[in-house]
């Protein structure tokens, strides 16, 4: 940087040119050593300008221009400007061109929809448009085009077409009017009235002035896209214009020749216009056009007229646009093949830009039946590009092209090259490559063992990038094709031998061995115990979702290989499974263990029968790739991670993901678990439907799903769901509470096909509970409940004073002559009568201090039983009934809540604070209420929720 002093780096400004002050200010800013210094200098200037604008002395135009220009400079530096608009508007009506010009520039850059100002601006524009001074008219049109707002459209959209086609408009005005109209039309097409002018606009294609044509083509192209039929006449005009340009000598067009290329911008625009339409119907027009396209292709073979890159860029810009049109028509085999050959030459050009464009353009050529074969001849060059290009965006294009040119004849080569590339591919594009390989492998698989190998290779090379869709799909295909099942089992078994294999491999391996492990069990090297211990050796390193899948594999093993039963039961029985902190795993362990010990071999074989074939439908992988902006997309890899709707295979891992066998109000069954971790399989809250048949007879009645106590606890934070379920009966609950009152609907579903007799549900108030809470049955249920039927009971609830124990529900009935009875806690807890209370931080702290007696506070520190998820925690706290107060706790990780418990006799104010410690997986919960037992009770209840 030559010299640090002001004069050395500032262009000398003569007095005549004015705005020396601006130059001084700019160089001051440039000399600022720090951001702070710059801001200081700017603030000083802003203060100065403000005082000048507010001052008593009227400013002359020059000063106004200078200050407005300074403000503009400050704004363009990235600072906010909140004044000066009025002065800029004043400049618009100046007679001095430079002042007007600065005014317009300021307005173009800084306009806001300040209505008062807009009216003044529009007025000034109107005057200039009517001035008949072309220079002023152009300035006004530029301003409208630059702002392009709806307000501008409303004010001028009707006038501009008139200016555009008026016989006496100057060429430069027509040009500005055309593009100004284009901008307004793009922003608000409804404001631009179609009419007589549109026909005349099309004829601007014949205008003598090339600049007018250049501007008009853009407008016409845009109009064509929305109203193709109205502008059809432009086709023949465009073709003849293009023909004249293409056949002209390089000097004919004088100043519109650019580095020996005649009118490149206009040519490109005309070729774009033609891409709005199918090939011309008129044979003469079409012949002329084909001649043009051939001429362009011929010229590409001529030696360059200049060594300048501008020459070749301009020439090739036309060439690529010509090829686009040829591809768009997709009807001239000869031209398509010539285009392909031309692009083939560019594939090895020394200019990176040309290689990039050739790869991109060839990608679309590959999809044409006429040129597909021609494209394929370049496979080696493209593979080489994939390996050697130094620019990732070029490699991406090469990968796209390989994908596009792939067919049955070259699939193996292309897939293996892409797999090889994957090992070193940029992280940003790995997932897309994985998807593409998976699709090609499936689409062009002749023998499915190759397909299986390919997918397993994908997992091996880039396991992290293999999305669910991909490994689900391999399972679907293996399940549906019995010719590949044995091979798949053998291959996954071998793949799992690797000391470190990706978790996705464990998933695929677990599923396939669970289904088809028997096909390789004859080989002593992969005998059932070996298969099991191989899988189980991975178990402890896997995530919950994978472990859940493996547990399902284990139960399938018990069915496939009775000799593994004892070992597997031992694993299921282990405390780490049976009492696993994760409910999903615990439940599977409990249920599978019971299933394996209770069910007979026949029953087990029925339940765990091989999966039926999946219905054939569009590959979920293809759907995923399509969602990624089509095959050319390279950048969108970070969007849409997983699609929950495509959980199809996982749904199949469990016989039936549905828990509810009778119509019941338990749509909100999973209310509390509304947001399971993304990869978790659907909660198998019980393989209910099938088991009903298995456990025929009243003797065995293990409760399905959660224990009654667990179910009861789940209701602390929610009001609807299933309270109880066994093989015979399901009890659903729906309830609502307001103030100290509540209403509860109980739904009793008979899950059997036999009528229940003497059905009698009653509410029990243990101890003196009746003086604390009163429950009245308003709707009694009939004594008989038919098989498969559901009956409803309604309870009205009134909370009289605070209570600690819940009322009980006793249900008695006879099933097949045997008396049945059960007693459950009704999900009515004191927190149901919470009224959330919003309060400011200050109020909260004040009340918190007021409740500082030791007996008013209850605190619990406990370990997290569920994943520590802020959203779930919030939902639970809201479900608990208190208001959640944001911005109270200085630590944003913590939760603070407040509410009042409403009873008939008294109100109890409650404040709570929950402090998660993610690192220790612990919580600290503190409650303060005005009543000692309530604090403790609420604390107990709430602590069990996390």
């Amino acid at each position: 940087r030559p010299g640090a002093n002001t004069t050395a780096i500032m262009p000398a400004v003569s007095k005549g040119d004015g705005m020396r002050g601006l130059a001084v200010f700019i160089s001051d800013i440039r000399n600022c050593k720090s951001k702070e210094a710059e801001i200081k200098r700017i603030n000083k200037e802003l203060a100065n300008i403000r005082s000048k604008f507010k001052g008593d002395k009227a400013l002359d135009g020059y000063s106004k221009k200078k200050y407005v220009c300074k403000l503009l400079f400050i704004f363009l530096l990235g600072h906010d400007i909140d004044f000066g608009h009025m002065e800029a508007v004043n400049l618009l009506s100046s007679n001095k061109y430079t002042e007007k010009q600065i005014g317009y520039l300021f307005i173009s850059v800084l306009v806001n929809s300040n209505s008062e100002l807009i009216r003044l601006i529009n007025n000034a524009i109107k005057n200039d448009l009517a001035s008949r001074n072309p220079t002023f008219m152009c300035l006004a049109l530029h301003c409208i085009a630059n702002v392009g707002s709806r307000e501008m459209g409303e004010a001028f959209a009707a006038d501009i077409p008139r200016i555009l086609v008026a016989g006496d408009s100057m060429d430069s005005v027509k040009q500005s009017a055309a593009l100004c109209l284009l901008r307004l039309y793009k922003a608000s097409p409804d404001l631009v009235p179609m009419g007589e002018w549109t026909a005349r606009v099309v004829h601007l294609l014949n205008d003598q002035h090339m600049g007018v044509v250049t501007a008009a083509v853009s407008l016409i192209t845009c109009l064509c896209k929305k109203n193709p039929d109205d502008f059809k006449t432009c086709i023949s005009l465009a073709v003849s214009r293009l023909s004249r340009i293409v056949s002209s000598a390089s000097t004919d067009l004088q100043d519109y020749t650019y580095y020996f290329v005649p009118a490149p911008w206009l040519s490109v625009k005309l070729l774009r216009l033609l891409q709005c339409y199918p090939p011309p119907e008129d044979a003469a027009v079409k012949g002329r056009l084909v001649e043009c396209l051939e001429t362009v292709l011929n010229k590409a073979q001529e030696p360059p007229k200049s060594k300048k890159v501008q020459h070749s860029n301009a020439k090739n810009a036309i060439l690529f646009e010509t090829i686009s049109l040829i591809i768009h028509y997709d009807s001239e085999p000869n031209l398509l093949v010539r285009a392909c050959n031309q692009l083939g030459q560019f594939l090895q050009h020394r200019e990176t830009n040309l290689r990039y464009l050739a790869l991109e353009s060839m990608c679309t050529l590959a999809s044409s039946e006429f040129s597909h074969e021609a494209v394929k001849t370049h496979i080696d060059t493209v593979i080489n590009a994939l390996k050697t290009e130094r620019d990732v965006s070029v490699r991406q294009r090469a990968a796209d092209l390989l994908y596009a040119m792939c067919d049955r004849s070259n699939a193996k080569q292309i897939v293996s090259e892409m797999l090889r590339y994957l090992e070193t591919a940029d992280y940003a594009i790995r997932e897309e490559i994985v998807l593409k390989v998976a699709i090609l492998a499936e689409k062009y698989a002749v023998d499915y063992s190759w397909y299986v190998d390919t997918i397993l290779n994908l997992i091996r090379i880039a396991g992290d990038y293999v999305s669910e869709e991909v490994w689900y799909r391999v399972l679907q295909i293996v399940t549906n094709r019995d010719d590949v099942q044995g091979y798949a089992a053998k291959t996954v078994f071998e793949a799992l031998q690797a000391p470190a294999c990706h978790e996705n491999m464990v998933k695929v391996g677990g599923y396939i061995l669970g289904e088809f492990g028997n096909l390789i069990a004859g080989d002593p090297r992969s005998s059932p115990p070996v298969q099991f211990s191989l899988l189980h050796s991975k178990f402890h390193l896997c995530s919950v979702a994978t472990r859940a899948l493996l547990l399902s594999t284990y139960i399938k093993f018990i069915n496939l290989f009775p000799e593994t039963k004892a070992t597997i039961q031992g694993v299921l029985r282990a405390g780490s499974q049976l009492r696993n902190a994760d409910v999903e795993l615990q439940q599977r362990a409990v249920e599978y263990l019971t299933l394996s010990s209770v069910a007979s071999t026949d029953v087990l074989a029925t339940v765990l029968e091989e999966m039926p074939p999946f219905p054939e439908r569009e590959s979920s992988i293809l759907a995923k790739l399509k969602r990624k902006k089509g095959p050319g997309a390279g950048s969108a890899l970070d969007d849409g991670r997983r699609d929950p709707s495509s959980n199809d295979i996982n749904g199949g891992v469990e016989p039936t993901p549905s828990t509810v066998s009778t119509p019941s109000p338990s749509a909100d069954l999973l209310g509390l678990r509304a947001a399971p971790p993304p990869a978790a399989p659907p909660a198998p809250a019980g393989a209910g439907n099938l088991l009903v048949d298995v456990f025929d007879g009243p003797a065995a009645q293990p409760s399905l799903g959660p224990t009654p106590e667990e179910a009861f606890l789940r209701f602390v934070c929610k009001n609807n769901g299933v309270l109880f379920e066994n093989q015979l009966l399901q009890i659903g609950v729906k309830s609502e509470f307001r103030q100290n009152l509540g209403r509860m609907y109980l739904f009793y579903g008979n899950k059997t096909s036999v009528q229940f007799q003497n059905f009698l549900p009653t509410v029990v108030h243990p101890g003196d509970l009746q003086t604390h809470i009163r429950l009245n049955v308003t709707k009694r249920v009939a004594a008989q409940v038919d098989g498969g039927a559901q009956v409803q009971q309604v309870l009205n609830i009134e909370c009289l004073r605070d209570f600690l124990t819940p009322p009980l529900l006793s249900v008695r009935f006879r099933y097949g002559g045997t008396p049945q009875s059960l007693t459950l806690k009704l999900p009515v807890t004191i927190n149901k009568f919470f009224q959330p209370t919003e309060m400011a931080a200050q109020d909260f702290f004040q009340r918190w201090k007021q409740l500082s007696l030791p007996q008013q506070e209850a605190q619990k520190i406990f370990k997290a039983n569920h994943p520590m998820d802020a959203v779930l925690t919030k939902a639970k706290l809201l479900g608990f009934g208190s208001a959640l107060l944001d911005n109270v706790d200085p630590n944003p990780e913590n939760f603070v809540g407040a509410g009042i418990i409403q009873t008939k006799a008294l109100q109890v104010g409650c404040l709570l604070r929950l402090e998660p410690n993610a690192q220790a997986q612990m919580y600290r919960l503190t409650l303060r209420t005005s009543k000692e037992p309530v604090s403790r009770h609420l604390c107990e209840l709430l602590a069990q929720q996390f």
Binding site: A145, A215, R272
Partner: protein, 160 residues
């Protein structure tokens, strides 16, 4: 074309022209991202890249980056030549233009651009016609002395 940005190797924005209506905050965000993306590219890399759903076309002249974001359908090579023609116009108007001219006479750089591109489309490709328009404007104002400072950055590697 949706936007044209001129910025220095240090990431200082020298000129910004938006052809789509966007809130200032969004403009700033896009600018920062674009500048970072383009500055991160190594020399000799391809002058085109995909960015969001747009195509970026850029080229450097001396220390100044000229960067255009265009729609997917737009012709990359002709966009490169739009950049070059603009540089030529600047060069003619300023007489061997340098980055300093664009800093100190930024308003003129905007005026020249408006004569050449309007609404994101090429309005007039003839150098002569654009210059005439600018000169006519100059004739309407007080006599302007030619501003010839710094070295041309066309074909010149000198940086400031």
């Amino acid at each position: 074309m949706q936007v044209m940005l001129l910025f220095s190797r240090q990431g200082k924005l020298r000129l910004q022209k938006w052809y789509v209506p966007l809130p200032d905050k969004e403009k700033k965000k896009i600018t920062t991202e674009l500048v970072q993306t383009v500055l991160a590219r190594k020399p000799k890399m391809c002058g085109f890249l995909e960015w969001r759903d747009l195509k970026i076309v850029y080229k450097t002249y001396a220390s100044l980056y000229f960067c255009c974001a265009t729609e997917d359908q737009d012709n990359e090579l002709i966009t490169l030549e739009i950049i070059h023609r603009y540089v030529e116009l600047l060069d003619k108007c300023f007489g061997s233009v340098s980055e300093l001219d664009i800093i100190f006479k930024f308003e003129k750089a905007y005026f020249i651009l408006d004569e050449f591109l309007l609404g994101g489309e090429v309005q007039e490709t003839s150098k002569k016609n654009v210059l005439t328009a600018i000169q006519q404007a100059d004739l309407l104002q007080e006599k302007t002395e030619s501003m010839c400072h710094g070295k041309s950055f066309i074909g010149c590697k000198k940086t400031y």
